[in-house]
Amino acid sequence: MTADADPSARDALRGFVLELNPDLDPERLLDDTPLITERLVTSRHVLDLLLLIESLRQAPLDPRSLVPSSFADINAIVGTLLVGGAR
């Protein structure tokens, strides 16, 4: 599966972030909205996000392969972890 072939991956990621942040206006959550630096995803939920990404890519993700930009925003997740084929 690639995320571009399945836009529901972006929807799933958006849904995850909005569920974590019920006060966030959905229209303000764009694909380039910073997730980590804006504290929309914190350590309390980062493992849940990791599991979601693994389910979307249908493959495990080695946490040691992650770099500061990996979860930067939805575009980064889709581009590097879902389409890019990070190990």
């Binding site: 980590i36 630096t37 504290r39 914190t42 350590s43 309390r44 980062v46 493992l47 990791l50 946490p63 040691r64 992650l66 770099v67 500061p68 990996s70 979860f71």
Partner: protein, 295 residues
């Protein structure tokens, strides 16, 4: 088993290292270290920091609130006492011979409810707990810290060491501004001392980091930057986000307070000064007063 390196690495005069991870600092080395510490305290107080001297033990409950035992079980040191009842103490007195390794026979002990502090700033957050702050709070403290390590090298990696910290608790922007200024303080101090540190992104030494969400977050959003001299981190600038604010219910501006700290591993400064200027502390440049420094 504790592994140790030979103690042959250049130590300043007045410093005695031990393979058990402890170090004794005396004479000119101690005087120099105290001058460095006073310079840092002077800056902190000039900026409004209150100085605190906390006990060297911290309730285990406080460490549990920040998930310390899950994140750093390999580093914890806890003080153990014998049971309080006289019969138990009689049994201890009757059979207290150390074994061949020097270990105390610990057949029974009282409940362990404290740990020796692993970081000087940890008592700050419980002190501020359950209170909304109406302004940014700056605190400075010096603590003897304890971290059980795999190997010990005098002045570089010790079981017990001195840490001076300046801590800021406030809004996210207040803390970021403080950390920027703290970094400049380290640069000015090292410049005065003829040291040329490199700043490096670092992470805390989590237990099984690939399973720890906080370790994962430190990969994704670096929060620790270290000033490194001779491959040794002598200071660190640390952003905690709202980790401590949430754990200890500290409020600021209607939300959980953010915090950050600038830490100085004091013995390590002795180590890099000896590497740069030789073993005689009397020949080292001094840190000067707090004038010209700013946080």
């Amino acid at each position: 088993m504790i592994r140790t390196e030979p103690l042959a690495r250049t130590l300043p005069r007045g410093v005695t290292g031990s393979s058990d991870g402890t170090c004794t600092v005396s004479g000119a080395a101690l005087r120099w270290l105290d001058r460095l510490d006073r310079a840092i305290v002077g800056v902190a107080e000039a900026c409004g920091a209150d100085q605190h001297a906390f006990p060297p033990v911290i309730p285990a409950r406080d460490l549990e609130r920040i998930d310390y035992f899950r994140s750093f079980p390999h580093l914890v040191t806890m003080p153990v006492t014998f049971p309080a009842d006289e019969a138990a103490q009689q049994r201890v007195a009757a059979d207290c011979a150390l074994d061949a390794t020097g270990s105390v026979p610990l057949r029974e002990h009282a409940p362990v409810r404290h740990a020796l502090i692993p970081a000087a700033c940890y008592p700050v957050y419980p002190m501020l707990g359950r209170s909304p702050l109406d302004r940014r709070v700056l605190v400075t403290t010096r603590g003897t810290c304890f971290r059980r390590e795999v190997e010990f090298i005098p002045l570089r990696r010790q079981w017990t060491f001195s840490m001076r910290e300046i801590v800021c608790v406030g809004t996210a922007s207040e803390v970021r501004e403080f950390l920027d200024r703290g970094r400049r303080l380290v640069e000015v101090l090292t410049g005065r001392l003829g040291l040329d540190p490199e700043w490096a992104v670092a992470s805390d030494p989590f237990f099984q980091p690939h399973r720890n969400p906080r370790a994962l977050m430190q990969l994704l959003a670096p929060v620790k930057h270290e000033a490194v001299v001779d491959e040794l981190a002598i200071s660190s600038v640390n952003l905690h986000h709202d980790h401590f604010g949430r754990a200890f219910e500290i409020g600021r501006d209607g939300r959980a307070a953010h915090s950050g700290c600038v830490a100085f591993g004091l013995e390590r400064w002795l180590g890099v000064m000896a590497g740069r200027w030789g073993p005689d502390p009397a020949r080292w440049p001094g840190p000067g007063g707090s004038g010209g420094l700013d946080v």
